[in-house]
Symmetry: C2
Subunit: 225 residues, 2 copies
DNA sequence: ATCGGCAATCGTGTATGCAAATCTTCCTTT
DNA sequence: AAAGGAAGATTTGCATACACGATTGCCGAT
């Protein structure tokens, strides 16, 4: 379980704790349902309870931990149902973004999107999953930005962040990068044509296809409730 | 400027402060850009800085206040551009909800939606804007719930809450309730037919028509930037 | 007179202390 | 032996105290 790796110096202590905890939760180092004792976390970070409390409040607002008044914080436990609900919204937001992007992207943005897609061909060929993962993120980022709506970009990124834990294993499963890239290709074409509705349809299908990892993840969750 | 009205007893102090501040901000009692001094707020609520800080952190996560490290918190100032961006997402989320609702609502839910719509006829006749406002909220709530996706319901309500300040004057402008109810009628029909795509189109138009108040609101905002 | 630098002041960030609420454990009672 | 309850322990919520960074006002220099 890491303690403070990554950017640190000059940053607020509560902020460092927040980032470290967020990382531990999304990577799964802190399992859902884990009790988060303030004093104990303070010891771990060499801090008092005060910055820990602030970090926990922040994480609660992000939905990563759940706070019961006077009963402490626990790592948010997500029912399978809720994960699917989050995933559905995520897919719809992505579809919404690409629909707007197909209508609004500048020629420069469109060719930048195509360039990212072309670059990913090498990663797939070499079987470099990490590299494809990065390019995949950049691809979706480019689509967010293409909406020309900074608020939507923020919300889309925040939602994706919250889903990070579930997407992590996503591309690891057999044949995913190849298929993912093929779907990206179709998306690029629709965006190039400015066909927003078609792009949205393709994106929903793309997200749904990518949801395979969700089902395997679902098995890790408490079966009941 | 209210201090503590509403639910109070038994609730956490920081929670009470959070709710009171959120109310003051959305009603406009605390103008955008106002510096929020921790000590001063503590005095106002008869509390120390600690619960005030926790409330401010929470509000920052909701987007109602902005926190600059070591420089304190201010009521979030929204540029006209940002308000329009928020509004666009809001409209798209509403459209998304009604599209899903049209496909998924049970017969009971559909008739409940129609009943709310019929009830609103009286409010319009009597010119009771407050009552129509309430029914309008219930109408949109019913659509959210119709998605059968609790996460989407939460997010939609949270977004609407953030927009509350801008919608407040919305229905006050001439002829709005009549027109709004007419548009609701078309929406109900599309939902009844299960025509999600058409319902989504109508909802976008409905939200866009309702955006008139935004333009008048825009004049209240700092013109530059 | 204006600009740059320095110091005092103010406010936030963090630590610590105290009280109330919750949880635990052990004892009593049926 | 099991259930209920009371006392102790633990933990959160809030208050107070301290330290550092930022802002502001003043003073001197140009």
């Amino acid at each position: 379980m890491n303690s403070d790796q990554g950017a640190a110096a000059g940053m607020l202590l509560s902020e460092r704790i927040r980032l470290a905890l967020a990382d531990d939760i999304t990577t799964g180092a802190l399992a859902p349902g884990t009790q988060l004792d303030e004093q104990q976390l303070g010891d771990r970070f060499g801090a008092s309870r005060t910055p820990v409390r602030e970090a926990l409040r922040q994480l609660a607002a992000e939905g990563l931990v759940e706070m019961r008044p006077r009963r402490g914080a626990v790592v948010a436990v997500l029912t399978t149902e809720r994960v699917f609900e989050m995933f559905e919204l995520s897919a719809e937001i992505e579809a919404l973004c690409v629909r707007l992007a197909a209508w609004r992207m500048t020629p420069v943005e469109r060719s930048a999107l195509r360039r990212i897609h072309e670059e990913s061909a090498y990663a797939v060929m070499r079987g470099d999953v990490d590299e494809y993962d990065r390019l995949n993120w950049r691809f979706h980022d480019a689509i967010y930005e293409g909406t020309h709506n900074a608020y939507i970009v923020e919300q889309a990124k925040a939602l994706r962040e919250r889903m990070a834990a579930f997407r992590r294993a996503q591309l690891r499963q057999g044949g995913r990068p190849e298929r993912s890239r093929h779907e990206h290709g179709e998306l690029v074409e629709a965006v190039m044509r400015g066909d927003g509705e078609q792009a949205a349809k393709l994106m929903r299908a793309h997200m749904f296809n990518a949801s395979g990892a969700l089902e395997s993840f679902a098995r890790l969750l408490p079966g009941a409730d």
